[in-house]
């Protein structure tokens, strides 16, 4: 099998897994999930690191610098904001107390 054939097979299987895994997520978590998936495509930084090894021209350097900055912003920012969102979903002791006090 050619490399491309294997790569396409991987792509299709990953698509199917993605559909199965996402199909179950409740609507309340859609926004954090979108944000989480958004950070995962920051994996493009892996590609930036790999092609950077071959960069040898001014244009290449500029592209690597820009792509590295954009890709890392995607990863770091994406994960940070997702964590901030999900942090709010955890049970808050203060809020629980209030609820009991009110009833």
């Amino acid at each position: 099998m050619s490399t491309l054939t294997i790569a396409l097979t991987l792509f299709v299987f990953a698509l199917i897994i993605g559909v199965i895994v996402i199909g179950k997520v409740p609507a309340t978590l859609h926004t954090p999930l979108m944000s989480g998936a958004n950070s995962i495509h920051g994996v493009v930084i892996v590609g930036v690191v790999l092609v950077a090894a071959e960069a040898n021209t001014v244009l290449g350097f500029a592209l690597i610098f820009l792509a590295a900055a954009l890709g890392t912003a995607n990863v770091v920012g994406g994960y940070t904001v997702t964590d901030r969102m999900l942090d709010m979903f955890k049970a808050k002791p203060a809020a629980d107390k209030q609820e009991k006090g009110g009833k």
Binding site: I40, N56, V76
Partner: protein, 472 residues
């Protein structure tokens, strides 16, 4: 070291496979609010492994130029600092546009990698050239598209559907241009630096397409658009992975592509709109005029003092938060009102429509930020039977999702799942003005005998109710 030399590719392959599994497990853990945060951590670990493997790979095989090392690390540092600071500082109401902004930079990075591939590629097989071209197109469209989407949510770009003059002509010319550039890149023997002109032109045409794609779509549909563009970025990353034959980019890109696709479909369904309809822009250009023929409704205004009395002496009050609350940033006022009412023995519940807020699930995030317990947020199916037992329903900036017209056929919102607010004994609607909802039709709820209107910005209106309740 010899072992490593021979096996570096194999070892990297399995480490990439491991991080791919962590991404999948991370997404899976996001199924439940309890494990979601852990899921994000698992995903982060996967990302760290993948990046370390790539760094090791590049450093072990050596860089062609030391300048590239410096610029790569500098770029990573700048990006990390920017991403971290913005993500920490952003207000939760502005979060949807931030997600779109991070999607913008991700798509931009994918496009830049593809452009770089195109510039260095010489004598590549046709399949590689196709993936490079697709990577440039998808990445560039995502870049400008997400940027416009973020601008619309932030209010920098007009949120209403903007008719782009000669859109069809511009789109057509861009598409012809893209095909021509692609043909030049295929046929040119000097693919690589010699072909920089078609590469730049291809990028430019794609960037324009991204703008004309999002401009005609209304602000309330942006979540669906962002989700679609998210899927596009994933696909662009997978394309870039094909070119350099990298497992983790292909798998993670496909995962995000599938996630974004499914998510956009779910969101569109919750709004009872088809993806095609949303992408066509505007709201139901056909048939909306027929609904205007209905008789004029009489809407009765009320005051904050009256609402305060109604709420303070209710046994059960259901608050229906919507887009207007998110825009006004009134979640803390609502939380404050809830606290005061509960101290007076009122049971306060929140009815959460699947698409409440500016994104599905956004309302939950906003209310959670204001310290409102997760248990008080009741989903559509569970809360609908409870409206008949509520003494008062307070609608804060929600419109179309409360319109009983959705139960009839022949209206633009027919069949859309709605909250049965009209079943409550009393209904108070806080609304900024007399304008119609996003669907462009009158909300029949406002004309019902038990409904009273309280005009004003959600934040100020809730603030005056709080002041009035305190004086009781």
């Amino acid at each position: 070291m010899e072992f490593l030399n021979a096996n570096l590719e194999t070892i990297s392959w399995f480490l990439y496979l491991f991080s791919a599994l962590l991404f999948i497990q991370g997404l899976r853990l996001m199924n439940s609010p309890r494990t979601a945060r852990k899921g994000n951590f698992v995903s982060i670990v996967g990302m760290i492994i993948a990046v370390i493997v790539a760094l090791f790979h590049s450093f072990y095989n050596g860089f062609a130029s030391a300048t590239a090392i410096v610029l790569l690390l500098l770029g990573i540092a700048v990006g990390a600092a920017f991403g971290f600071v913005t993500a920490k500082k952003v207000k939760m109401t502005a979060m949807p546009q931030l997600v779109s902004l991070f999607n913008t930079v991700g798509g931009g990075a994918a496009a830049l990698v593809a452009i770089n591939d195109a510039l260095v590629a010489v004598n590549q097989p046709i399949s590689t050239i196709i993936t490079i071209i697709l990577g440039i197109i998808i990445g560039s469209v995502t870049f400008t598209g997400s940027l416009i989407a973020a601008g619309k949510l932030q209010g920098i770009v007009s949120g209403s559907p903007v008719r782009v003059p000669l859109k069809k002509l511009i789109d057509g010319l861009c598409l012809i241009g893209i095909v021509l550039c692609a043909y030049m890149m295929f046929s040119s023997n000097t693919f690589g630096y010699g072909a920089w002109l078609p590469i730049i032109a291809l990028t430019a045409f794609s960037l324009i397409l991204g703008i004309t794609f999002v401009m005609p779509i209304g602000g309330a549909d942006m979540p669906v658009v962002i989700s679609i563009l998210n899927a596009c970025t994933g696909t662009a990353v997978a394309m870039a992975g094909f070119v350099i034959n990298n497992l983790i980019m292909i798998v993670a890109g496909a995962l995000v592509g599938a996630a974004g696709g499914i998510l956009s479909k779910l969101m569109a369904e919750a709004m009872n709109r088809s993806l095609i309809n949303i992408l066509a822009g505007g709201f139901g250009d056909t048939g909306t005029t027929s609904s205007d023929t209905g008789a004029e409704m009489t809407m009765v205004e009320t005051t904050a003092d009256d609402v305060a009395v109604q709420m303070a002496f209710a046994a059960r009050a259901i608050i229906v938060p919507g887009y207007g609350l998110a825009v006004a940033g009134a979640q803390h006022e609502i939380a404050n009102l809830t606290k005061i009412l509960e101290s007076k023995g009122v049971e306060v519940l929140f009815a959460i429509h699947p698409v409440a807020g500016r994104m599905p699930g956004h309302m939950n995030v906003l209310l959670a930020e204001a310290n409102i317990s997760y248990e008080k947020l009741i989903a559509l199916e569970d809360v609908n039977p409870m409206f008949s037992t509520a003494d008062i329903a307070l609608v804060v900036g929600a419109n179309d999702v409360t319109n009983p017209a959705a139960r009839r056929t022949g209206t633009p919102i027919s069949g859309m799942p709605i909250l049965d607010v009209d079943a409550a004994k009393n209904v108070v609607v806080i609304k900024r003005g007399r304008g119609k909802g996003y669907a462009g039709i009158e909300n029949e709820l406002y004309g019902l005998p038990q409904t009273k209107m309280l005009y004003g910005d959600a934040k100020n209106a809730v603030g005056s109710i709080i002041a009035a309740v305190k004086e009781l």
